[in-house]
Symmetry: C2
Subunit: 596 residues, 2 copies
Amino acid sequence: MPQYNPPLRDMQFVLHEVLNVVDELKVMPQHADIDVDTFNAVLEEGGKFASEVIFPINLSGDAEGCTLDKTTHEVTPPKGFKEAYKTYVEGGWPSLSADPEYGGQGLPISLNQCFYEMLNSGNQAWTMYPGLSHGAYEALHAHGTPEQKKMFLPKLTSGEWTGTMCLTEPHCGTDLGLLRTKAEPQADGTYRITGAKIFISAGEHDMVSNILHLVLARLPDAPAGSKGISLFVVPKYKVNADGSLAERNPIFCAGLEHKMGIHANSTCQMVLEGAVGTMVGEPNKGLNAMFVMMNAARLGVGMQSLGLTEVAYQNAVAYAKDRLQMRALSGPKAPDKPADPIIVHPDVRKMLMTARAYAEGGRALAIHTALLIDKELHHPDADVRKECADEVALLTPIVKAFMTDNGWIATSHCMQVYGGHGFIHEWGMEQYVRDARINMIYEGTNTIQSLDLLGRKVLGDNGAKLKRFGKKIAEFVEEEGISEAMQEFVNPLAELGDKVTKLTTEIGMKAFQNPDEVGAAAVDYLRVCGHLVFAYFFARMAKVALEKQNTGDAFYKAKLTTARFYFAKLLPETAGLIRTCRAGLKPLMEMDEALF
Amino acid sequence: MPQYNPPLRDMQFVLHEVLNVVDELKVMPQHADIDVDTFNAVLEEGGKFASEVIFPINLSGDAEGCTLDKTTHEVTPPKGFKEAYKTYVEGGWPSLSADPEYGGQGLPISLNQCFYEMLNSGNQAWTMYPGLSHGAYEALHAHGTPEQKKMFLPKLTSGEWTGTMCLTEPHCGTDLGLLRTKAEPQADGTYRITGAKIFISAGEHDMVSNILHLVLARLPDAPAGSKGISLFVVPKYKVNADGSLAERNPIFCAGLEHKMGIHANSTCQMVLEGAVGTMVGEPNKGLNAMFVMMNAARLGVGMQSLGLTEVAYQNAVAYAKDRLQMRALSGPKAPDKPADPIIVHPDVRKMLMTARAYAEGGRALAIHTALLIDKELHHPDADVRKECADEVALLTPIVKAFMTDNGWIATSHCMQVYGGHGFIHEWGMEQYVRDARINMIYEGTNTIQSLDLLGRKVLGDNGAKLKRFGKKIAEFVEEEGISEAMQEFVNPLAELGDKVTKLTTEIGMKAFQNPDEVGAAAVDYLRVCGHLVFAYFFARMAKVALEKQNTGDAFYKAKLTTARFYFAKLLPETAGLIRTCRAGLKPLMEMDEALF
C-alpha cells in the first residue's frame, strides 16, 4: 500500500521564502488580512484531508470503479467516495477561494492551488468530482445573469451541488465548431436542449442532490462553426424559484466510459432529450464563456500531474531505501545486509531525482501562476492586473502541457524503481502512471497547448508577452550575475534565454512563409520554454537556498542539490529539442498521405 | 476495434533487399535449401495466423483476464485462447526454428523473429504462452542431459507442452543471488524443491496437458549468493519413462498478479511444496544455464515492443486519415469536408512518423540480430561464429532496452493521436501502452540492460566489441561517402560514431576513478548507442531505397522519407543525452539519502 505525506514544508518554501505571497497579497484589499499562519494552518488541515480521507480510498476506488444502473441512469462511485465528499463539504473546503458574496471564504487562489496539489496526490479521480465544480462556478460567476448567480453560485460554493463541463461529442473534441447539440428557445425564455455528449467527467453520481451541467449547444439560427455555439446551464433536477428541487430534467447518463485510468471518476456519455436550461452569456458566444472554464481547468490539470508526481516520488523513495538488491558498483554500502538498498544505484537515484525536480519545479511554477491570478483578480493597479493576466495567458499552456508531460515521465520512472512490483496494482504505482496519462489529453491535448503557446501567445502578439517574461529573467540574471555562487545557475539560464529568443525569431520568420511551420515546431518549442521557466524558478529557489544553507537546516542543502541536478541532468534535453525545432516542417510533410 | 495488417513488404525489404538473408544463410549446411519464396510463404501464413486467429481475441482477452480456481489451482485464460493455441499447434508453428533432431523444422531464427513480430502485434499476452516455451527449450537444448532432451524437447517442439522460467521471488528479482527456494537431493537422483516464486508468466493455464517449469533453487550445501544457484526442470505432471503423464507434481499457482497490462497472460505466484525435479546443467551453475534462456528472452522482449509499435502505428494512421478535426494552419486541405483529416496537422504527423521510424529501425536491428544468431549457430567458419556471437552480445541489451523504451514512446504517441478516444478501452490503443510498459521491466530492467551494455559488453573488453561494430559503420561510411545522395545519411552517422568513441573513452576513464560512473552514464549511453545503431540501419535502408527510388514503386520513396525523418527529428535526441552522460555521477550522489 502506498503512503502520502503532504509536502507542507516544500509548499511553504515556495510560498513564503521564494515568492513571498503574503506580502504580494497584502496590497490587495481582498487579502489585506492574510498572513503566513493562516496559509500554513489551512494547508496543514488540507493535507490531513488529502492524506487521511481521500488517499486511503484511492487504490480501492481504482479497482472498484463506478457503477451505472441502466434503469435509473444513476451512477454509484466507489465505496467511501460519498462519505469523503460529505466530510469535504462539512470542512468547508469547496468554498475556500470562492467569492464571499456567494458564501465563499475568499481565500487566495494560490492557497487553493496548493490544496489541490495535495488533493490530487491523495486521489485524482475523487478530486475531479469537486474539481469540475470550479469550472462551472467560474463560468457562471463571469457570465451568469444575476438570477443564475443567485440560484446556482451559493450551491456550488457550499458544495451542496457539483458542476460539469459538457463540451465533447463523439465526432468533435478539439474542434468544438463541429458540435451538433441543439438548443430550442422556449416561450418562457428557457431552452430545450437535445444531443449527445461524451467524456463528461463527474457527469453523474450520487454524492450531491443536484448537478449543474454547463452545456455547449447550437441555437436553431446559429451560424456554422465555432461562432455559432452558445453555453447553457442545465441542472439535473430543475430548480424552483425558492431554490428547492423540482422534477428531473431529461439529461441522463447513457453509459460509462471504460478508461485506462481515473477509474473512480464517472466519465459519462450524457444524453439530453429536450433538457431544459438557461443561457449563460450571449447567444453564439458560448466558446468565450467556456474558455473561462477551460483556462482554470488547464491550470487544474497541471496540478493533477504535480500531485501524482509528488506522491509517486514519495513512494519510490521509500521503496528505494527499503528494497535490498545488488551491491553498489563501487563496493558494498550496507555490508551488514544481504544486499544494498537500491537507492545506492546511480540510475535509481536519477529516476528519483528526476521526479523530485519535476515536482519542485512544477510546484514553483504553479504557485507563481496562481499568485498571478490572485493579482489579476484583485490587484489595485489596473496595469499590474493586465500584466499579470498576460503572464497567466503565457504560462497556462506551459503549466498544462509541460507539467503533464513531466508527470508522465516522472510517474513512469517512479514505477520503474519498483521493478516488476511497479507493474502490480497493489503497490499503487501503475495507477499513478495510468491516471497521469489522461492529463496530457483532456482540457486541450498537449499539442493544442503548444499551438496556443507558440501560435497565439507568443507569435500572436509578436513576442510581446514572451519578451516581458524574458525581461524578468534578464533582470534576475543581471542582479545575481555578480554572485559567484549563483554562476552555475544564472549562466545556463541566461544562455537558454538567448537561445529561446533566437529560436522564436527563426520560427516566426519561417511561419511567414508557411503557417504550418508553427505546428511543426510547437511541441518541441513548448518543452524548451518549459525548461526556460523551470530554470528560472530553480535559479530563484537556489538563491534562497544559498542564502540559508549555513543555517544548519539541511532542507536548504537539499534544495540546492535538486537545483544542481536539474541543470546537470534535465535542462540539457533542450539541446536536442532546439535541433528538432529547427529541423522544421519538411521532414514531417514529405510523406505522401497514401504512403503512411 | 483496431485493425492489423502484417507488414510483409516491410519485413521482406529488410530480409531480402537490405540484409540479403537468404544469401547469408545458404552458406550454412543447415539452411542450404532456404530460398526467398519459402521465407515469404511462411511469413504470409504466419501473418494470417497473427491477424486472423489471435488478433481478434486481443482486446477481449485484456478485458476478461485470467481466472484462478483456488480449489484446483487451475487457471483459465480468456475465451478463445485455448482454441487459438490448438490452431497454432496444428499449424506446426511451435516447431518453426526448432532442432530437427527433436521434430523441429530447423528454419532460421531470422524467420522466426519476423513471425514473432507479427504474433506480438496480434496479441502480446497470448504470444507469451508459447513464447516462454522458447526459453525453456533453449535451456534444455543447451544444458539438458540426453534423457531430459529426449523426454522434454519433442513435447516443447510440437507445442504439446509449454514451458516457464521460475526465477523471481518476492524479495529478489534483479539480484537472483538472494533467492531462497531449496532443492533437496533424493536417493533416486531427483530433487524435491520447496519455495515460492512470483511473476511467473504463463505459469499455469489449461491450453496444454503439461507445463515444464525451469526453476532456480539452492542445494543444501550451496555457497551463498549467485554462485550457489542451480537450475531444475519441474513438470506440472510427472512424466513416466514412456513419456506418459504420471501424478500431479506439487507446484501450484497460489495467486494471479493484478497487472497494469498483459491481463490475458496468467502471471502466477507459484508455490513449490517438495515438487520433484531433475537438475539441468551443473550444480551451482544454474545462472549460466539460465542466461541462455535470458538472452533469447531479451531479444523476444524487443520483438514484443516492435510488434506493439507496428500495430499501434497502423491504427493511429487509419484514425488520423479518418478523423476530421480543425483546418490545417496553412488553409483547408479537404474543403469539401466539415474539417480536415487530422493527418494534415504537422504534430500528428510527427507522432505517426516517430512510431513508424521506431518500427522500421527496430525491425532492421532485430532481423540483423536474429541473422547473427543464425550465423553464430550454424556458420561453417568458427571465426565468423565467434564474431557473430560477440555482436549478438553487444546488440542484445540495445534490442531489449532501446526498442522497449521506443515502444513506450511510440505507443503513447499513437494513443495521443486519438485524443480522448485513445484513453478508452474499446479503441484498443491504451492497451498497447499498458502492454508495452512491462517490456521495459521484465527479463532484466532497462537499467540492468544498460549496465550490461556499458559495464560488461563495452568496457568489459576495453571496447573491443564496440570497436568491431564501429569498424562496420566506418567501412559503410567510407564506401558510401563518395555518393552525393548518401551524404545526408552518412555524415551524421559518421559524426555520431566519432562522438560515441569519444564518449566511451571518457566514461572509461572516469570509471577507473569510480565504478559508479558506469551506473550514472549507462542508461543515457545505451540510448546514444541505440541511435548509432538505428542511424546505421537507416543509412543502409536509405542506400537501397535510393537505388530503387526511380523504379516507380513509391514504397522506396516512403523508406527514404522515413530515413530523412529519423535523421532530422529523432537522432538529435543524442545531443542532450551526450551532455547528460557527461554530467556524470556527482549530481546523482550529492543528495544525502536522508534528504530524499
